[in-house]
Symmetry: C2
Subunit: 176 residues, 2 copies
Amino acid sequence: MPPPPAARAKVLEAFTDLLVTSGERSATLDAVADHAGVSKGGLLYHFGSKDALVDGLVEHLTDLIAADAAAMRADREGPVHYLLRTSSDVGHEFDRAYLAVAELARGAYPRARGALDAAEQAWTDAVVEEVGDPAVARAVVLLSDGIYHRTSLGAAPPPLEELLTLVDSLRRTTTG
Amino acid sequence: MPPPPAARAKVLEAFTDLLVTSGERSATLDAVADHAGVSKGGLLYHFGSKDALVDGLVEHLTDLIAADAAAMRADREGPVHYLLRTSSDVGHEFDRAYLAVAELARGAYPRARGALDAAEQAWTDAVVEEVGDPAVARAVVLLSDGIYHRTSLGAAPPPLEELLTLVDSLRRTTTG
DNA sequence: GTCTATATCAGGATAGAC
DNA sequence: GTCTATCCTGATATAGAC
């Protein structure tokens, strides 16, 4: 297959950026086109409708989930550290895509939730491999969800070291 | 002062219900009026604008925060149990109002975040009184935020007993 | 492939009857 | 106090030129 046109990627990136920084309401076709540096007509050549644009972003996130799970497992500090430290990170591609799709799922596109559920499952699986106890793993992912909740509301994330210390005590309690 | 007209309360309740069950996008003036059983004109008699309707709900939540903090402290099972078990509860008035205002804050009304911050602070204060360690208290509130995150996305909440057990081990670890 | 219109529709708000 | 009717604005989508 031919390489996807650069304009497609630019449009998806602009859509993501608007969703993360200004919310779903502001991510109109006009705004996305402006932000991507194309006209509205040009945008609608690549994505035939708003729904198609949403689908494009959801599929992009789905592609990124496997890559993120692999990055968790390969992380020098381990999956738990990776998950908790990136949960408030709006700088990396995966986290931006996750937050963007979460905006869509809470807004006019509930079908976007499938990809979010898949991400949650991938995180839990990777954390279980590190901590052993599934209950502790679920709690770690739930803490991560809490950080996402605050981030999506614009509040400050909690201190990372404090959380890591608590997770360490939990692991010692349940494994020894 | 005279008692507030029943229509006002009906409208606020309808607004809350639409926000919690169908998201911010669906809570239009038309939909709220229909749901409350009044006409759009009737709604706009009580609340002169959409902004005024939003302010009405935010003020209602603010009123409920102090009452909820008192209920936490008075709870037979304690503040932690109260907080974690009610975080996915969309049946009680306070939780419904919180979720509704969170929808607004994530949507077109970021100013609604002030009331959410106040709730977070009230929860943390009450939990600190029970568990002592502020770090553990912040983690408990963060778990509660995670449950809210899932609830606001329409996902199933995690098992309560499992979380309570983990919090108990944390408390034993940090206090003894 | 990308642009400039323009049609269509929905939500918010106003005016005025009852 | 509550209703109906109407206006204004902005967002999606289409048509057709370049």
